[in-house]
Subunit: 299 residues, 2 copies
Amino acid sequence: MSVLIVGSTALDSIKTPKAENPRLLGGSASHAAVAASFFGPVNLVGVVGDDFPQRYIRLYERHGIDLEGLQVLPGKTFHWSGEYELNMNNRRTLKTELGVFETFTPTLPAAYQTTPFVLLANIAPALQHHVLDQMRRPRFVVADTMDLWLKVALQDLLKLVKRLDGFVLNDSEAQQLTGEDNVFRALKKIHRLGPRYVVIKQGSHGSILSGPHGLFLCPAYPLRQVVDPTGAGDSFVGGMMGYLAATKGPIDRHIRRAMTYGSVVASFCCEGFGLQRTTRVTRAQIDRRVKELERLTRF
Amino acid sequence: MSVLIVGSTALDSIKTPKAENPRLLGGSASHAAVAASFFGPVNLVGVVGDDFPQRYIRLYERHGIDLEGLQVLPGKTFHWSGEYELNMNNRRTLKTELGVFETFTPTLPAAYQTTPFVLLANIAPALQHHVLDQMRRPRFVVADTMDLWLKVALQDLLKLVKRLDGFVLNDSEAQQLTGEDNVFRALKKIHRLGPRYVVIKQGSHGSILSGPHGLFLCPAYPLRQVVDPTGAGDSFVGGMMGYLAATKGPIDRHIRRAMTYGSVVASFCCEGFGLQRTTRVTRAQIDRRVKELERLTRF
């Protein structure tokens, strides 16, 4: 089955202590869509300006990503610049130029409205609502978010969370949202906001699922070298949704393995700038790391 | 088989935002010995003053811990006071009174010198050396340490590490020792110092083993409430060594499960002040949490 992914489609200029990379393909939807594309068909909803490099369009196409929902508007593509500190955990935003994103209204092509799996990747909650309003009885809807929306659009976000099957956020966002520094107490509080599945991402420490069948402690793949963690969280949730959409049977039977697949795609994402490493990976390489994670956690 | 445990035997006065508990039984050897005692016989090597409460002697005895190696000397027992902040991660030492510990020389009873498993729990590296000097061909020697010794006794510690089969330390100590903020690169560097097995503890994120058969990502048991994390690391390594000593066959076949048992004992330790919760736990409760961890990590 297909997965519909809406989010930001952007150009990222990323500085780390070791290198500087201007105008890479980035944005939550780009990372999530490429990650999901390893498992099955993806419908992408986003907006870019007329400065958007043709080679990035070809990159989406090479991954079999359907672009009927990608609007190309006169103006500039959303451009984010950021800088990482030496330990790769602290990120500082240098510049955010919204460009065509400022007035973006995601309108779904008719063919997209019945996509069974929906990933509302990180983007303003009002836009996530707007996409969901256009869907006809989706089977499984998951949203990701970021700290910014907890600050400037909390009411929108809380309303959205009620409409979700699954909600994904990172540990500091979970603490910000619930006031709980204990991740397991935070999970409990987030369930009360609506979703049956809650996933808290913990970066290099993996992630935790709380669902109808209890908890799952999902490992992160051990990386000796992190080149650029931008998009790792989007790759995680994209890989997870792509895998779920490609798998028959109940969500509960597959969600743990789906998260592990997401975790592995995220590990590849961290090994290169932007999407440089992810776009060179094969499904066989992904499968190998998932098998390795199985061996690394068995006791 | 037996495990010999040397380390500190202390009185701990622990303050948290919610409570204050004076003169609890504490010290690295006390926590490790109680943790190991769930699995088999333990020989304890340590020193206490003549102010050491008789009820703590009885507590050791109830756990079947052999006390021939516990010296009782005229003077005061080592007394540590510390305070935890609200999130239980930051600890501040308020007072350290060494007492009889100041001049402690661990002399092993003859019967202890052939103990096959040796745990050099956190204590000055010179004392760890001294204990090891008295051992006759132990089968498996593991040491734990703390940041203090990396600062004030690094050369002693590096010499000790050469003599070990296994070395256990936490993530910030590993970074301090190797200058590596990546835990997997740190593991590699620590192997070069000597030990075949290196375990890096990551608190509530679990621990990582690097051994002859590669890595193992050991989960932490999910706790909704941490009452007092003092001694959790000692409980972890004590439980691990106790389980290993009680198990037939090669170390490699059992060390992953041993770590998981250590992790579970540490989880109980965190649920009460000092040893209050650990000393009320049964082997059956420990087994149940290990089984639960198996379910929580399977995918």
